[in-house]
């Protein structure tokens, strides 16, 4: 179990850190439809809060690629930790009952 977990985690990290700077910058399916059909402006300035790393960028890193890589690294580790330890807690709950 350990081996495949480590392999898959490393693959995920590599994707987030090394490949994410090469991701297409084009609008995604929904954005494109919103642009073409003229309702994209309905979202402009409508954010109800300001997220710390908007659009997968880290504000204090000027280099765009490194900024994206770093955001990818933070996100992948964070999602893993929340999900893994969330599952650990659920597992404990299961064994107790």
């Amino acid at each position: 179990m350990k081996k495949i977990t480590i392999i898959m985690f490393l693959i995920s990290l590599s994707i987030a850190v090394f490949l994410s700077p090469f991701a297409s910058q084009l609008p995604d399916g929904l954005e494109k439809v919103a642009e073409d059909k003229g309702f994209i402006e309905k979202a402009e300035g409508k954010e109800v809060f300001q997220a710390p790393l908007p659009d997968y960028t880290v504000s204090f890193i000027k280099n765009e690629s490194i900024s994206t890589s770093f955001a990818g690294l933070i996100g992948t580790v964070l999602v893993f930790l929340i999900s893994y330890f969330g599952a650990v807690v659920l597992k404990k709950w299961n064994t107790r009952s």
Binding site: L19, S20, Q25, L30, L78, F80
Partner: protein, 210 residues
Amino acid sequence: MHIPDGFLDTKTWLSLSIVSGVALAYAVKKVGKKIGEKHVPLIGVMSAFIFAAQMLNFPVAAGTSGHFMGGALASILLGPFAGLLVMSTVLIVQCLIFQDGGLTALGANIFNMGIIGSFFSYYLYSMIKKLAGSKIFIIGVFIVSWLSIVLSASFCAVELAISATVPLKVALPAMAGIHSLIGIGEGIITCLVLGFISKIRPDLIDIEKI
């Protein structure tokens, strides 16, 4: 297809937030009852992989890109409730940390990509498996993954129409059309990952589904 704030009206985002909230609470209970030793690390890496893979937008057609969703992957491997938890974790982090998908639209995004993505994929795949056996494993996975994207995008179009953002007859063909291309990418990635897991740990493909 992460919906931003501003596209959905209050009645739509509020109802979908309630539906997704209830579904999520139920999924936590369900997974809590059935989760085993082997599920824990898999749930962790599945979430990490889906987050990372969702960052990789690939160009699909003139001026448009798409990215992996993961609902089919997570639910075919782990089951629909565990799949919903994985997808929700990814979507919540994307929304709160990376401003990908609006906070008011979080319930709608969990509904489209988490609930539809996981439950539709899991039950359709189970049906195909029952009818055809596991001989067509890869073809079945591809079809289910492709359909999951087109269906999620169609639900998104319906929500935009209910919100009076854009008429259904405009939104539905546009959303389903472009996502039928993005769905090819979804199918390929899901097949690659499940194929990879079945090569190195074939027993994990048959892990108990939650």
